[in-house]
Symmetry: C2
Subunit: 331 residues, 2 copies
């Protein structure tokens, strides 16, 4: 493993300058600091802070996901992670990120500069610069709902989407529904693709016809419902499975606008079990993702990676929560 | 949750008799003891021992798998599990099982009688009585290489078979091999089915023809090679991917019998990276399952289940180990 001296030799500068660069001292230029960091990363340098087993410091990076209050998806994930980390006396920083920040600095350099031993990335997509850099990183990193092939330093944590969607389809099937529509979240998301495939597999498993007019990709926001609900109704859907509770709130609003009652005319199921699910009228039948446990499991996984236990995937059970938005099919 | 008194009331017997039944006392009949245990399980009784958070006792049940010395597949898995358990001061018993034992007593009754808080099952198949009973158990249980749907108390630990097989196919592809045969392990095993599907998917991903004459299920023993290797050779295979190192040893022996050299005439890849892989002539290129980490991860998972973190699947990375049994394709 490279030492500070190796980096100094390679760049032909003083050891003290390298040390300043690594520690973010202000009396060297930004360019020199960046050059030192990038060279250190390239040479596989890891600081004492990163390797320290006593009190480690790790970082949760978050984007495209709300997390400030308990109503929001990210909140309990972060709580769960912090709870598990506290038990091992690890420090956790939460850092909101954006594309600019990712363009400005490479992931590995950012981690090295700040002495982080590992990271948990929430809400990132495969298009993010930092996610693309994860193919080659040696910094232990856990991704929520995204998977990186062939890098032993990266793990994926999430909920078992197949079982979740299958629980929902089974429930609707048991209520007599045959024409079940699926309003998915955004395309180009691994989770959406898994849910799409799971829906088709589960419909076939139950001997139900997979009708392309009843399957659509939308977005993970309520507003997308207005573009698809009228079409689903026109094609005879008696139940609508939604890829998130937020989408389901939009679907219920649209059904009401069309003069249809939930669940008397159309049953609706969500996914996530956010606090809003129990507050809606009618309250929402949904598939629960246990977010506190997702956070705890992300920590377990990161702890494993830091100790060279190369966990690739850790999936939690999805849980079926029956409420009032689903009922027997009358058609 | 049921108490000893509830059980006594239900059976119309004295509390002291229930207590004797639960503690395995010898001054009541076998039938009465069994009745007490089965009733306790049915009523959801959990003993103080099972719930104790101080010093828990868990059990590794093992069958159809050798584990007595380091050459064998189960050895390091058990070591890894025990290492992780010791760090949390949990006691671990290793209990070899067989079909008779499973017929004689139900899984839940066995666990209750012995005060185990959880179990790790190695080498079981979906046909085992105890595995079939796992659909309904509430005893935290981890299975190696088997998955139980819809029970939040059960977890599955294993190696990412898709990535493992894909690493092997990629390697052979990069050496110019196109006619790649696959000698799988036993049918009716979840792992064999995953590897079969992974092989087909990976071949297609690499633009290679999937030839049914070159794909066979065998058994996880060297001896099965003699039934399939001549056919593979006849159909022009230049490389043989094996579902285990033991199968690969049989394949190499058969190739030698046919007057073919490894890797000059036919390349061979194993799976597992048992100690024997590096001792063979030629030494065996293989896909490594890190067995110590499988054991450690099984404990992590069980610890999660005991604390109601409902982990469903935990998969480890498969690792490509290049040795001498693979070489460039000359055809």
């Amino acid at each position: 493993m490279a030492t500070i001296k190796d980096i100094a030799n390679k760049l032909g500068i003083a050891v003290s300058t390298v040390s300043k660069g690594l520690n973010g001292a202000s009396d060297i230029s930004d360019e020199m600091r960046q050059l030192v960091l990038d060279t250190a990363v390239e040479m596989g340098y890891a600081s004492k802070k990163m390797k320290a087993s006593g009190s480690r410091k790790v970082c949760i990076f978050i984007e495209n996901m709300d997390y400030e209050n308990i109503e929001q998806f990210g909140y309990e994930i972060i709580v769960g992670f912090k709870l598990a980390a506290a038990r091992r006396h690890w420090d956790v920083n939460v850092v909101p990120t954006n594309l600019n920040m990712q363009t400005a600095e490479k992931f590995d350099s950012y981690m090295l500069k700040n002495g982080y031993s590992g990271a948990f990335l929430l809400g990132f997509t495969l298009h993010d610069d930092w996610v693309q850099q994860l193919n080659k990183t040696s910094v232990p990193t856990v991704l929520l709902d995204n998977y990186i092939e062939r890098n032993n330093h990266i793990g994926y944590v999430g909920t078992d989407n197949y079982e979740g969607i299958d629980l929902a389809v089974s429930h609707l099937y048991s209520l007599g529904h045959k024409k079940i529509a699926f309003l998915n979240g955004s395309k180009n998301s691994m989770v959406s693709e898994q849910r799409q495939q799971s829906f088709i597999t589960s419909m076939e498993k139950h001997g139900l016809e997979v009708n392309e007019d009843l399957i659509e990709y939308g977005y993970y926001v309520p507003d997308c419902a207005k573009d698809y609900v009228p079409g689903f109704v026109k094609h005879g859907a008696t139940a609508i499975m939604c890829a998130s509770d937020l989408i389901a709130t939009g679907v219920i609003t649209e059904l009401h606008k069309l003069g249809l009652k939930v669940p008397e005319d159309v049953s609706v199921i969500g996914f996530d079990d956010l606090p809003i699910a129990s507050q809606l009228t009618p309250s929402l039948t949904t598939i629960r993702q246990d977010r506190t446990d997702l956070g705890k499991s992300a920590f377990l996984l990161l702890d494993g990676l830091v100790h060279n236990v190369t966990i690739s995937k850790l999936l939690l059970r999805a849980k079926f929560i029956q409420r009032e938005s689903t009922g027997p099919c009358k058609n």
